[in-house]
């Protein structure tokens, strides 16, 4: 049964190839973002390009270890890894280093470590383990609550840091439950909540209520399903109107001022190119000025000097857009789309529920990062500080994503050996 040829046996080279291309292109852009005429040597441990090379090399060590381990390891130790990651998330609240008002990092001397990047591994493994149990039925409320709890626990810990960006990423794992059989109603409710939230913030509360009522009436009239459905329909409308009423309160009391201003900016409620809008304005100029084919490698004029401290992390796409133009955008987005679609195809060919859930979870997390990151640099999402996987500078995120991806590659290579 056991396939003992080599650690590289049966692995999906398409994924590996996409991964390598992303690392290479990402590193070029980190180099460019750090480059200026006076810079002498960027490939040292004092400069980001040099450090990123170190992170890439150490990621390869992780990858080798992951492929070396028996595929059973991940199913056996799922919960243990999950608990360990939760402890790390609790620990960072106590002894973490406070950067920009959030305790998200462990200070390890010359390096910092962001536990939320690694917690993804634990949550994904635990969720896969839980949903792959025999006789699991996601239409059962009890099962739903337990699955929700697995995902919510780390989200709560991350919200305490607070780190809204990472929390949203974890929340995206609910989509996996949909694939595994939870009712589609949840999806519709989620979509409605988001829509109402945006609607209310975009317009005044009263106007939002009027629009909602009008739409519901017209919709209800068009469907005309009969008297039985009138009661639940009116009930839903009342809940929706109540939600609209509370949005403003939630918005003002729960979100922090800088989050609010970023959302207001996207909704067009404020137009401030020097305050909160500064980053967005600059990043749009950088990307927009790239044109069709870009200004050329190292020839960008907008993304140098690291004014935006996140130039090589959260805003790395600006450098891509400026120096490689629309072609660079298409290549980057194309690589991500290829990666995501390939992950779904592979997830569906798994024989075990564990591997399938893991594959879907991985795709969802990567999608969330990819979409939110690029969308925020071009102004269709608020500025939420999360990195672009495999492109952004940073050891924690590169290690985290590499480990996540290669655990799946190992599971996939191992798929013939397991039945569940």
């Amino acid at each position: 049964m056991r396939n003992n040829k080599s650690v590289f046996a049966n692995i999906d080279w398409t994924l590996v190839f996409i991964y390598m291309l992303m690392l290479f292109f990402g590193w070029l852009n980190i180099y460019a973002a750090n480059y200026d005429e006076g810079a002498v040597n960027l490939i040292t441990m004092n400069a980001e390009p040099g450090k990123q090379l170190f992170w890439i090399a150490t990621s390869f060590i992780w990858i080798f270890l992951i492929l070396l381990l028996d595929g059973k390891f991940y199913t056996t130790f799922s919960y243990l890894i999950y608990i360990f990651m939760l402890l790390l998330l609790i620990g960072v609240l106590i002894i973490g280093k406070e950067i920009g008002g959030a305790k998200s990092w462990y200070d390890l001397g010359s390096f910092s470590m962001q536990p939320s990047e690694f917690a993804k591994i634990g949550v994904l493994l635990a969720l896969s383990k839980y949903l792959s149990q025999l006789n699991i039925n996601l239409t059962n409320i009890d099962t739903q609550i337990k699955a929700f709890a697995l995902i919510l626990l780390p989200i709560i810990l991350i919200m305490l840091q607070p780190d809204a960006g990472s929390a949203i990423v974890f929340a995206s794992l609910f989509l996996v439950l949909y694939r595994e059989g939870i009712s589609g109603v949840y999806l519709v409710i989620l979509a409605l909540v988001i829509s109402l939230f945006i609607l209310t913030l975009k317009f005044e509360t009263q106007i939002a209520m009027i629009i909602t009522t009008l739409v519901a009436t017209v919709f209800g009239y068009l469907i005309k399903k009969g008297k039985n459905s009138i009661k639940p329909a009116i009930f839903s409308l009342v809940i929706a109107l109540g939600f609209i009423q509370s949005v403003e309160y939630l918005y003002n009391e729960i979100l922090r001022p800088h989050h609010r201003s970023r959302i207001d900016l996207i909704l067009g409620k404020i137009d401030d190119i020097h305050g909160a809008g500064y980053n967005l304005h600059q990043s749009k100029i950088a990307i927009g000025s790239g044109g069709f084919s870009g200004k050329g490698f190292l020839d960008g004029t907008q993304t140098k000097f690291n004014f935006v401290p996140e130039q090589s992390t959260d805003f790395i796409f600006c450098t891509i857009g400026e120096e490689w133009g629309f072609i660079g955008s298409v290549i980057t987005i194309g690589l991500f789309l290829a990666l995501l679609l390939r992950l779904i195809v592979l997830a569906e060919r798994q024989r075990s529920t564990f591997s399938r859930v893991y594959g879907y979870g991985l795709a969802t997390i990567l999608f969330c990062h990819f979409f939110i990151n690029i969308a925020m640099t071009i102004g269709i999402m608020p500025v939420i500080g999360i990195p672009l996987p495999f492109f952004s500078y940073g050891g924690s995120s590169l290690w985290g994503f590499s480990i996540l991806l290669f655990i799946f590659i190992k599971l996939d290579a191992y798929r013939m050996d397991i039945l569940r």
Binding site: E37, K284, I287, S289, K304, A363, F367, I380
Partner: protein, 610 residues
Amino acid sequence: MSRNKFTERRLFFYFLFVGTTLLLLITLFGIQILNDSYKVSAENNVIKAITIYPERGYIYDREGVLLVTNQRAYDLMVTPRQIKQLDTIALCKIIDIDLEGFNKSLKRAKHYSTRKASLLLKEISKQTAAQLQERLYEFPGFYLQERTIRQYPERSAAHILGYVSQVPDYILKKDDYYKRNDNYGISGVESSYEKDLRGVRGTQYLIRDVWNRPKGSFEDGKYDSLAINGKDIELSIDIQLQKYAEDLMRNKKGSIVAIEPATGEILTLVSSPNYDPNLLIGRSRSINFNRMYKDLDKPLFDRSLLAEYPPGSTFKLVNALIALQEGVIYDGTRFSCDEGWRFSAKLKIGCHAHKSPLNLIESIEQSCNAYYCNTFRRIVEKYPTASKGYENWREHVLSFGLGDFLNNDLYNGRKGRVPTVDFYNKQYGKGSWKAPTVISLSIGQDALVVSPIQMANMCAAIANRGHYYTPHIVREIDAVPLNDSTYNIPKYTSIDKKYFNTVINGMERVFTGKHGTAKTARVKGIEICGKTGTAENSHGEDHSIFIAFAPKENPQIAIAVYVENGGWGSTWAAPIASLMIEKYLTGQISNSKQEAFILNGNLMNTEDAK
């Protein structure tokens, strides 16, 4: 398997991924291709970083005389790939260089990097720079970089001050602070206090359009950093004395080191031949440097710190002190001398004719070799084995700061050599050498070598009656006195204070005694204590050595003079030391005849080194 009935739900994910990807691509298509306003914004919004070079710190002498200052200069820089439709002739006309030279420089710049800025023309005059600045927009790719270059108004102390040049490549690789074309102290104080002198570079971000026309500062200077000027440094050097010493050493090879015994501050540090420090600034530096590098008299070589000479008879003082400390002689101990000391037919050390026997004071006054051969034997032979006795002697010698680096703030230094037991074991074989084998050590010869600054420090330790302060060159940084335990805690020799009196009395007799070896160099009214020395030189005339301090009580200056090929210590080195001491203590010279003799003396075997 049971839940694979939801397989069709994968379509939701396909739609989600493809749909959002399209949303991103369409938005990007709008921003990057359809909308031109971002291109215009970017073109009017090229951010350019301008380096603001800090002014390098000034250097003063101990009296506040300005030794090193700065002058403004402009470098014309070029970034080759930014050049567009260059009107070469117009540019050459403004900066006044020939077309050929210009093209050569441009080619070199392109060869270095088309993308990075490099130096095209160094140090353009202020007027030209002003003219050029106005028309610079006509020459995209070119810009003026303001910088400062050093100037040395006193034209003296070249070895001490060192020089400044563009930062060398190996430093660029090692130290992240530096960027290409930065100034960097290469030697001397400029090097050892580089971090204090250099200041901190500033950066100014300016908005330019793509035609390089300034559009004001970026974000009201929010990201700009000011340059912080370098710190001023006050040296312990007395520049008047330094220049006088340089004059005395003109046309002679050698070194003068003077130290203030009470502090360890270096008053004078001369290496001869020397040169005008202004030769090593600006465009002509490399030519001058190469010329001096090839000069057989080695003007670039700092003899005061790097030359290692035998101390000769001056070292007898140390041997006398060790013998007193070890109790193998006392003040009245006499040794006879029959024009030297004989151990065997083969092994003898000669001496000049004088009355015999002599006591300790007389032995210093007249520099008797036999006295010290006997003394040295007693020191070593006090112990059961030669190596034990020798090791004990060596420990005493080391306590005078000889045989090792002084670990001070000077850019250069040498350990010198006080030979180890191993050294002689290797030379003669273990156990087969005894005190007589290495008897020349008693008169400062054999394998013993010291640098002039070590010799001056040794003299300061005697002047202080048993301790010294590590010699150093800087007194204050930005008007704050140097408070460094390396320099303000005394280091004690292994000799008790009480033993110094006799030896110092002997040193006084060198000037005042009837047979004193430096009696012709006596200065009226100043109690100088000194000791002559001569180091044998197999290549030619012997080297003339003298160490001295004055006044006898509460000494103000300790000095070591070394004149290569100067013959007897009394001929050149002793009068030079006296003149220096008199000049420093009284500000004038009483024996102008002797001064003239020294100033005009020429001991250079090569052509006049200018």
